[in-house]
Amino acid sequence: MKVAVVTFPGSNCDRDTLRALSRLPVEAVPVWHRDTHLGGASAVILPGGFAYGDYLRAGALAAHSPVMGTVRELVNAGGRVLGICNGFQILTESGLLPGALAMNVSRRFQCEWVQVQVQECLPGLRFAAGERFSLPIANGEGRYIPDPQRPLGRDAVAFLSYRDGAGRPHNPNGSWREVAGVASADGRVIGLMPHPERASAAWLGGEDGLRFLRVWTGGDGVPA
């Protein structure tokens, strides 16, 4: 499998994501936001960071980058896209996922470890309902707000939700229904606020993120 990782001006988790992918049996290629081809990749990651400084609204300016047209075409052709943190914001801003991400109710940037749980299985991917991942978040605008015109449950689902250590619902930032990630119903477009690439080695604090990426790239969820 070949995965493209897009660098927007101001992305800062692009290299981290490439490095995490290098620990999986996939080929990963970097792509610049002005590129209009994805180097033959069948899946693409929009990484975390502050594209265009998150000026105006997080993800709003990057949603107009030339590469986003190509990403849309890829999805229409059956490819997959994963938006991580800023990438998730870019996906909602460009309408590829419903809803919006607003300022955390704490009014603060929050960098900490959280637990998330899979709420819905997605076609074609071996995420198990109820499966949990321990992952870092690092964002100031991570509060999910649903779109009344495109409610979740139709063409898109509340894929991941925040949980506390004991598996009870937990809400670090005021997200609607503890939503931590959203996916299109067909599983082709996924966005999540936590950073799987930051949990890709034991010495980084855990490997759940690597497991997440392994499942997303078509593998299974069995720990390596």
Partner: protein, 739 residues
Amino acid sequence: MIGPDTVGLTPEEGRHAAQLLGRVPTALEWGLFGALWSEHCSYKSSKNILAWLKPPPGQVVGGPGDNAGVVRLNAHWEVAFKVESHNHPSYVEPFHGAATGVGGIIRDVVAMGAYPVALMDSLRFGPDSARLQEGVVRGIGFYGNAIGVPTVGGELSYGQAYRGNPLVNVLCVGVRKPGAGISAGTSRPGDRIVLVGADTGRDGIHGASLLASRSFAAPDAETGTLRPAVQVGDPFTGRMVMEAMLAVLQGGKLHAMQDLGAAGLSSALAEMAGQGGVGVEVDVDRVPRREMGMTPYEVMLSETQERMLLTVPPGDLAEVLTQLSQLEVRASDIGTVTADGRLSVREAGAVVASIPAGSLTDGAPRRAAPERMVGPIRVPERYAPSGVFRREEALFVLGHPECRSKASVYHRYDSMVQTHTVKGPGDDGAVLRLDEGPDGLVIAVDGPGRLSACDAYTGGARAVLEAVVNVTAMGGIPIGLSDGLNLGSPDDEDVFRDFAALVAGIADAAHALQVPVTGGNVSFYNQTGSDSVWPTAVIAAVGRHPNPEAAIARGTLEASMALYLLGEAESTLSATVWRLTLGDGLPGPATAPDWTRSRAVLEALSRLNEAGLPAAAHDVADGGLFVTLAEMLLAQADPATGLDVTVDSDLPARAALFNEGPAQVVVAVPDHREGDVLRILASSGCPGRRLGAVTGSGALTFETCEGRFTYPREELRAAWLPPELTEPDAVLAGKGDAP
């Protein structure tokens, strides 16, 4: 009329400048002399004293004098790092002042050709500065988080002395491949000079020469009149420029690189020329502007952020400009490197300034260094406070602003971006794993201003010792130091003497511990009226970690482990946090380090590390042994973990629990290795003893000569975690927070 007085020069300096030129300087030339001969740019008061810090030959790759110091980590990496202050701008505008401080030190590291991998920030505020602190913390997060360099630690401390003079010091650490470096002084005549980054506006003109080189006599009125336009931090452009500079450097076409900081183009060009023994000639008309009608004076002195300078051989200019434009950063060819050794400025074809570059840099007037002095060293009294220890005192110390958890601050910084962070904020220092080679980096900053309150020499020495102990406790082998020095007005004889003593203390400590000082920063005029800050040395220590993936820090404690104290408790409570809880704001003198004993402790610690013995290690600092052990306990995931220790029975309970004597470290080691521990202590000549054991009681228990005291984990936690902040932290000032 522009003359010596309007640019901050004394009449005597004015005469000297005119003499150097052999004529009356033009308006622009006055501006250049004023900026470059300012305290902030020229180090005129400090340079001769800073010479005491010069490292012995061979210990550093690049020492003081460059944009950042450089030491060798191993065959794969060199480390560039430096501490810089942004105190005055942060007082005037906390959010952008702090943000631009972060941006500025990052560019210094980039200018050495190193990729920035970590930041730490050291902050000092008055006791009731919630709003100022909020602005500064927000500003640091705003810039560091967005530019994508993790903030892996720092310090937050308070004191009456910082009330009108907050300190904001930032450390940036970068790595580069050996041989891949660059510096400011390697241009060749004929090279083109390229200005990269943001368009120039009227930002911060005179920031360096006036704002940071004077006292705040009447802060509001004065800062109000001295400030044309506040510098705004733009981490987005900052990141674009940083990435672009390091990318073009890889192409191998660049001759020299220099960041634009204080005094903007004028200082950057003078440095390039002065250090390289060449001349520079720029055409101000070719500098892209943000505003209409800017004079050459304004263009040359603007402190607009997010700009860098390059020099390129003319044949490679087109290629470099093309690459920069593909990377979507602005770049303009603004002039030529010449052989005449002068800094010349042209406007509309005419030369409007031409000054021998060396006279702007090395030629700046300098204050003579006093005798290298170490005293008077004030010795603290032996244990004095009378009365018996009350158990609540310990909770009071643990919850004191100096000791309590700083998590509510550091959780607002991205400490994980770049995915190198093995140990981040919340430990004695940070450990980073690098992509290549076996070794990791250990980083710590310490600036115990309180220990300088009575005696700057001791304070400087203790700051170095504490930073080195922290690096060693994290498993590192110290390889370099950088120092940020923050004082009042050097025109005040007492302050100047403190400065000399502070530097002497640092120099002696660096010598005693065999770690080179590679650079740093001096910030004077942290003074309002006669209120001056404590002479505060913020010391950054960088170390090599031979096994970063296994870094231990506070570790995981198990009931099969014993606790040892390396070093010796002392009997005074002078200069401790316990002393501060008396509430008079006077810490009293601190104990100067005993170097023989300090070296023995460090030696024992590193040999324990080499033998892989410690399962956890934590030094004794703010709050004494009590706080050290409470923090170790609270860091445990398992709520059942307990610690049961017996303190030095020769000391009153209070002294035993709260003394902050130098060079004490607690380590936890599997019980069955006791023999190995004692052997290493003995052969290192390190005093030390078994303190007690890890238990399953879920509590911290002390056996003292005044009885046995037990603190359940929940009680400790409640004292240590600050109350949820409800102060006006939603101040609108500053951007990046409106949705």
